[in-house]
Symmetry: C2
Subunit: 285 residues, 2 copies
């Protein structure tokens, strides 16, 4: 089995590690515009060999795990280069623009649009870890537009990594993910900014910040190169989510200014049911 990973970072690299564990006879080829990432991935054993895009014609799988703006340009070229038996999948956090970018391609049926909901705040080949996808959800969009035999091949791979499959149309994916993922990242980045701006003397942050602060700003470590194009591609949904969030924060602030403490208590109590939602998530995992 020949697997090509284009973009050897957290997501692609972690897929490579799982595939090597599941299929010891597979050869994992790595393609990355960043030469030092290729070298690092070879040194770490994340990939077996470095490769070039032109070589993918004999691939079983091509995994495209690059920033979503790069994916728009790269995916048609990858589809141009593959053979008939190859299946290409892309793993980014937006799905409608990606699906549009390949909609008219003659090899559209060799492509499957996916979003494995997994990750950490780290990036690059050194962030790759085994078992990242076990118990996680993989959202697949427009499955009917992928050739049936190739669907099967991809689903077998995802299931062997321990992923649950959920089907969704690209627009619904982008709408929901704006709320449960993209908004969390912005809330975290802007919380970090607010505190850093206020606390010029960082020592005060070290000394007074507890695990709660750490938890809420964890995502502010994420890669701007990865996230800027996600926000760009999902602009309308993200703006709507942000507007809702800002309105809720403003109402909370107004309750405080007006000494409406019963309303503040009620707001928090009604959100407490997030406990059960999060417990549900953990049961799932």
């Amino acid at each position: 089995m020949k697997i090509y990973i284009i973009g050897i970072g957290l997501i692609g690299g972690s897929m490579a590690l799982d595939i090597k564990n599941l299929h010891p006879s597979a050869t994992v080829y790595g393609i990355d515009s960043n030469e030092s990432h290729v070298k690092q991935a070879l040194d770490l054993g994340v990939i077996d060999k470095a490769a070039q895009l032109e070589e993918v014609s004999n691939a079983d799988f091509v995994i495209v795990s690059v920033p979503v703006d790069v994916a728009l340009v790269l995916l048609p070229k990858v589809l141009d280069a593959i053979g008939d038996q190859s299946i290409v999948f892309e793993v980014g956090s937006t799905k409608a623009p990606i699906c549009e970018a390949v909609a008219g391609h003659p090899k559209r049926r060799n492509f499957i649009a996916t979003h494995p909901i997994a990750g950490t705040e780290f990036s690059g080949p050194s962030a790759a870890i085994t078992n990242l996808y076990n118990g996680k959800t993989n959202i697949i969009c427009e499955v009917e537009r992928t050739a049936f035999k190739l669907q099967e091949k991809a689903l077998d791979l995802f299931k062997s990594m321990g992923m649950r499959i959920r089907y969704m149309d690209p627009k619904s994916h982008d709408k929901h993910i704006a709320y449960v993922s993209h908004l969390s990242h912005i809330s975290s980045f802007m919380l970090g900014k607010t505190v850093i701006n206020k606390e010029k003397d960082e020592q005060d942050i070290f000394d007074m910040a507890g695990s709660g602060f750490e938890s809420t700003v964890r995502l502010a470590k994420s890669s701007p190169a990865m996230w800027t194009p996600i926000f760009k591609q999902n602009k309308l949904e993200v703006v709507e989510a942000l507007e809702g969030y800002i309105a809720n924060l403003t109402q909370f602030k107004d309750f405080l200014i007006q000494d409406e403490y019963n309303a503040i208590f009620d707001e928090m109590e009604s959100v407490n049911k997030i406990k059960e939602i999060l417990n549900g998530m953990n049961v799932k995992k």
Copy 2:
């Protein structure tokens, strides 16, 4: 040694467990207006005996770990009831109103104002855990207003639990903590609200939410009964922190609307230094 814990929840209960480990001969008495909490704390071995406020005259330590609105009323009564050798400390998340409430009390020198920066999102006696305070910071306010011998006694206890001590005036404490703790809680509650309101069908949240969402909304599990009076007592600082946060979110949203993606990249990149700040926190711990 006789220790009285008034309010046997996460904070007071965890102190009780550490004290029992450090001082096996100590007797830990529990006082709580909630009878079922007293029973639960006895059953779990968090306290040795139930007690009433009138009994504290022979206490070595009285730990007041109740919601901060209750503390304002209760602390003067506790000081009225203790003996000359007793030291009373309170552990809530606001310090200026607490210090004011006891400022003129004849036994002010038997009181030490503290804020151990430790906790989880859980509450009640069953949330008590050992070693919660190890490696954490304890902020002490107006230390010069506590009798020297009693300061020493309290500091020995805090240090034996593994806490780092930092001194601060109550107003500075309340200002900084609004940013590094109170704001995180509101950001988390309102993020949870925004997503719950949007996602009426909760199954969509389960399936699409990853560990990032979980991390940013973790604090939305916190107790409204504990947090409402904190926000009330620290209203002015919290409103200011919220205004800064809302302004930053609004600017980010405006950059998106105006397609200013370089500005969005720069915003995120400049906040990325939170990595080093959080690493500093972890080295400290």
